[in-house]
Symmetry: C2
Subunit: 770 residues, 2 copies
């Protein structure tokens, strides 16, 4: 608990009077509040009597009158001793008069401050303490940015800016010190208790950044997001928060590089953002792989032990007493066994209890690793002598593909996360019944491993504006959006007039559709505006331009002006605007300008966008100019967000699985119909039978086309969407139909990024990250 100190500089007795009045006012206006209080009084002749405080104000305040001849150390010791005593709510220190005439009182005074700092007393008035529990206007101090030309590398730009201490940023935006857990000086986890403190605080505006169908190079949604908040907060002086996904570490060393934005629209320090951050993905890896180890070990133990032996080991006699653990009691309940004494179970009940009877062929849970390790795409495990005879084929996915990541992104708190972790289906038994993490008895351990990961991480942009980095689920087999919790915290923090800008992965047909139908449905939050990111490059591709391939120089069509390609390609932009309108949300088109774009191309795009129903269409220069380059976008977003909208979901959960899939395929992708493989149809029957039919749909489709065919650009029509198979993430809470094959484990190229990455052992500076 933070102890609140009033520091009274008593030269005039009117101060005493003022203090009395303030303390009394606190008590009267806030009868429920018991602010802890430390009164440090340097006094000549008068002071506030401690009993006055205790009786009038109702606080437990201790008065210390130190002996006349006490030393400075004794003063400090006394303060520290009292600070550690949890019964003492405050310290009321009356220094003997002699201190003030002794030449040493200068040191006493400074020592006292040191003591106060040591104790983490925040020196402020009680009035302030109470105010701070309420919503505070921001006192954001943006960092100055002086963009260079040509634009240096991302790591150079990031390194050239000194971030504010994260505790300072936290204070500027109204976080209390006890709501912050620093991880070094540039990142901190924020406690979920904030949601309680601000439960009556209205939310700010909720802005989604989505994109048109991208080229394989990406069209800059993250930089637009970052540039937009830099413009809103640092230039328009409006509270704003960016909520970003945490990137997988694997691709950082592979082919993709970092994901902290780029140019002058970045989250800093970019190396922290791109590496371990605060360990959330590592926690997911540990939790995911504990489930995997538990599955295989359990299969082995069941295969090699009798019911009796299993039961004896699962419910051992400890000091002569056998009893079920709470986790086991929960399993008994699920099995409909109402005994609580282990000796009362019938042999059949024992058998039901000890045998999950998992079918090794039907284990759906995979191990994960946060490395681009293609050789783990298909493996055989259990080939050692100790497991002989139980080898089986399985695979590793990249860590962010874990269902636990999707849960982290969708949960609204610890209790909900624990419940979702327990519901995760890891496979089925030989009778076809789903087996869950709860059945494995591992739920509690998973919650323990994830207890810190659930808190969003606070960082800052290049211009010192706040950013939450939290969760980064796959955008195909999962929903590709950052966490509900980060958005919720940010919406409270920015205040009613503020803006939260969050990003959805892939094109709008995928990321935005899932943002609305899955994330907003789960969170109950209503979006105010969609920012749709387009580039002249991608539009030219949709207009019939040649292939765009990573690592290969761009064909000349993309470097020289070509208005026809742009005009033709705007069909994709128009379609994505229409998709947003299906949900009743207005669209601002953000044209992310490259230096090869001509004025005529830019104007053409903006004109067509507005003609296609966009509420506004503006060009953005955040990459080369930071927030200043996105001011026009920020103004457009501000204006459009203030309009009323009619947000609605695209389908009802109660629709059948087939109907839900068909709705997305037809209305969003523009397919004529869907076609289910026999596997898919069988899975639908199975999920319906298991009671999973009312979950939302999370399509696993390529992001390179509105259709399932990556090579079909623009707005493909006249196609039937094939549903190859259907899977489910029951804990996360969605069903994901597979359209084509999804790789869940990237590889390393011949020349991986790590060839350029190094650390200067003296300066500790990182080189080669981009």
């Amino acid at each position: 608990m933070v102890k609140c100190a009033i520091c009274v500089h008593l030269i005039y007795s009117d101060i005493v009077q003022k203090c009395r009045e303030e303390l009394k006012a606190i008590r009267e206006t806030n009868p429920d509040l018991k602010p802890t209080l430390a009164i440090i009084q340097v006094c000549l002749c008068c002071y506030i009597p401690a009993d006055f405080v205790s009786t009038q104000i109702g606080l437990n305040v201790m008065q210390i009158c130190l002996p006349r001849q006490c030393t400075e150390d004794e003063v400090i010791d006394e303060i520290l001793r009292l600070n550690e005593d949890s019964r003492v709510h405050g310290i009321f220190l009356h220094l003997p008069q002699s201190f003030l005439s002794r030449s040493c009182h200068f040191e006493v005074f400074t020592e006292m401050f040191v003591a106060v700092v040591i104790c983490q007393h925040v020196v402020r008035s009680s009035t302030r303490w109470i105010q701070e529990q309420q919503y505070q206007p921001w006192r954001l101090r943006p960092l100055k940015l002086q963009p260079l030309s040509p634009v240096p590398s991302d790591i150079e730009i990031s390194r050239a800016q000194t971030p504010k201490p994260i505790s300072q940023l936290a204070q500027e935006i109204g976080l209390l010190p006890e709501e912050l857990e620093a991880y070094g000086n540039t990142k901190a986890k924020v406690h979920l208790s904030l949601l309680n403190r601000f439960q009556h605080q209205p939310n700010g505006k909720y802005v989604l950044v989505a994109g048109i169908t991208p080229t394989p190079l990406g069209e800059g949604k993250s930089t637009v997001t970052t540039g937009l908040v830099q413009a809103l907060s640092a230039h328009l002086k409006l509270n704003s928060f960016a909520c970003l996904r945490q990137p997988s570490q694997g691709p950082t060393f592979g082919v993709k590089g970092g994901a902290a934005g780029g140019g002058y629209a970045q989250v800093i320090p970019m190396e922290e953002f791109n590496l371990h951050l605060t360990g959330d993905i590592h926690a997911i890896t540990a939790a995911n792989n504990l489930v995997a180890a538990a599955i295989d070990a359990r299969i082995l133990h069941e295969a090699t032990q009798s019911d009796k032996a299993l039961y004896r080991r699962l419910v051992p006699s400890v000091n002569g007493v056998r009893c079920f653990s709470p986790i086991q009691m929960a399993r008994l309940q699920r099995l409909g066994i109402n005994e609580s004494d282990p000796s009362d179970l019938t042999p059949e009940e024992v058998r039901a209890f000890v045998r999950l009877d998992l079918d090794p062929e039907k284990v759906t849970w995979q191990r994960v690793v946060d490395t681009n390790d293609r050789f783990l795409r298909k493996i055989t495990v259990g080939q050692a002598n100790t497991e002989k005879g139980h080898a089986r084929q399985t695979q590793f996915d990249i860590a962010v593909a874990s269902e636990i990541m999707a849960i982290l992104a969708l949960t609204d708190g610890l209790a909900d996360m624990r419940a979702r972790l327990g519901r995760m289906v890891v496979g089925s038994n030989r009778n076809g019944q789903p087996i869950t993490a709860d059945d494995l008895g591992v739920t509690g351990a998973l919650a323990v491993l994830m207890k810190d990961a659930i808190k969003p991480t606070l960082m800052q942009t290049l211009e010192g504006t706040p950013v939450f980095v939290h969760a980064g689920p796959f955008a195909n087999i999962a929903h590709g959006n950052s966490s509900v919790l980060a958005d919720k915290l940010a919406l409270k923090l920015v205040g009613e007039e503020g803006f939260v800008v969050t990003e959805a992965g892939f094109g709008a047909d995928i990321g935005m559709e899932k943002f609305f139908n899955i994330k907003c449905r789960t969170s109950g939050l209503k979006p105010d505006v969609v920012v749709l990111v387009a580039t002249v490059r991608a539009l030219k591709m949709h207009g019939g331009g040649p292939n765009v391939t990573a690592g290969v120089p761009l064909p000349k069509e993309y470097i020289n002006e070509n208005l026809q390609l742009v005009a033709d390609g705007c069909s994709n932009l128009k379609k994505q605007i229409q998709i947003a309108h299906l949900f009743g949300v207005p669209v601002v088109v953000a044209l992310n300008v490259f230096k090869t774009d001509t004025q005529a191309e830019i104007e053409l795009v903006c004109r067509i966008a507005e003609a296609s129903g966009a509420s506004a269409a503006v060009q953005c220069h955040h990459w080369s100019r930071g927030g200043r380059g996105s001011v026009e976008l920020a103004q457009a977003v501000k204006k459009v967000a203030s309009q009323k909208n009619n947000f609605q979901f695209l389908y009802n959960l109660q629709d059948s699985i087939v109907e839900k899939i068909r709705t997305i395929a037809q209305k969003v992708y523009g397919a004529d119909d869907i076609e289910l493989s026999p596997e898919a149809q069988a899975k639908i029957d199975y999920y319906n039978q298991q009671g999973f039919g009312a979950l939302p749909i999370c399509m696993a489709k390529t992001h390179l086309s509105l259709s399932h065919m990556p090579e079909k650009k623009g707005v493909p029509t006249g196609f039937i969407l094939p549903i190859r198979d259907i899977r489910a993430s029951i804990g996360a809470g969605f069903i994901y139909p597979l359209v084509g094959t999804m790789s869940t484990m990237p590889g390393l190229p011949t020349r991986p990024c790590f060839y350029d990455i190094d650390l200067d052992p003296v300066t500790e500076e990182i080189k080669g990250l981009f």
Copy 2:
């Protein structure tokens, strides 16, 4: 940079005079020091002129004279603005007189303090600032401990004690705020820059805790270590530091439980200690697996591409320019190719450069995971279509078995760590030449991944005394000791009269031998005393008692008094004392007392121990009583550590590999001789040929017997130690002969620990960890 504030309370002008004198004295006695300085002056009529400070003291101090009518906000804003200006070394604030007669000056005064706190100004005099750069006597405030009987569970004891804020502990032991990186409120990483600041500070006493040959249950070295520092610091008021290994997270959920000590001798919060901590093991996992992914990807790329294609991809043309990266230049140098223009290489040179030609059969590098996953003990990777034809058999080890962990434990800084990472041998090419991480081009990326892990983590014991937790290499295939860096930092921090207590894994024949011959040789540190931990239980086992097995109740011999078994078993204790004496280090025997031990048994052990050459032998009750129960041990350690000793290594590095192994086998284990398998002999020839012959030896032997036969208790004699195979960790810097089979991947039992582990979603408290 921390700005240093002098807070001047100017009531009397003699203070001004005093201040002037102090500032002048600083300048005169420390001509090189430029302490940054903030002077906040609340003044009636006189102040220290800023130009006086600037010219006389040589600091860049800015004086601000605010307008008479300025508001509080303006004052604060000005302070904050200046604080962010890196050119300003200090703030010299002269408030107008009017402030002191206005009724609002109370708020101004408190606001100013808030500003000071916000800015992370440490409010103290310049004298203090300079003093703090030097070694500071500790001002440790131990936490009070009131042990209960019967002793509650470890997690209950841990949770019942509120740890000090880690920043407070850091300040108490003389760390500067800028040397600390908090990870939450109870753990923090400490910067290695401390070693520079204290380079002229003499080391404290260096105490090693080792044990007799243990039962499979362990004999309590960690609790003795923790209890000893609690006794030294909290009861004898001597500076002391415990240096512990970070435990693997896998066994926490398997069979072993936590490793933070136990009972009333624990590191708190124990759940932080046992779970992710500050992410070091996660960083090792990421680094280790990046090497593994790079190996397999490289083999695949080389197998499927021509020299020319490989060269084109490895050295691509970027904007028409081809050049080698620094990492590639280093490889060219190793190959003896002195060209720097990629077009100048001959086809043969290109071939040598692009082909590591790794033999898939001779890859020695394994993947790791920090989970007890027995099904990964032997696996086949690369079975997906995308890698078809390149499947190979390999394995996962538990993360702490990674060579990178051994490197972390032995390195002395970033540059050394980077060099060691680069030297790691991952396999050999088809010509039998070793291939290193440097050859893979991954060294820089590994250093980047490990840049935070290299900083030791500060935590505290139950009694609020400091602990470093850092590194935890395997005690058989590696050397089983915590990090050199943590010990070095701690030895400086405790001061010349202080104590650093570090622990070696397994029995003294393994952990202590490696501590001396490997760790001390690498670090150059000299141990002062060995604390040898014994239990009546283990001694009875060595005396011929029945088998002790985990999870099975102890036979009656271990519960009832049996002096004969104890007396016979002391042979093992005597032998381990003699081993320590081989190295010239005196021994204090610590008998870790269990409640079933009788007074006669305890006295017998102590008598025999002293007769066997121990400098002292005392009983310890830390588990039930905390530091108070180890005061006698602390006194004995203090006394023995003050005696001079003649530390020496057991062998010279220049001895042949066989000779070094034989020396350890005969002198430490008591073997008659060693016997090399043909594989072992071939490896020795190979290592000699590669120039690895002068590395120290790290024996991989069972810890359950002095011999290689776990069932042989006491002091086995008349045996030949078989060396089955020999391996090498070139980066870590040792050769490890295998005596028998070492499991590097534990499994989960039928009823793993996680059955009892859970999280309360409301209180966030963890249940079931032990």
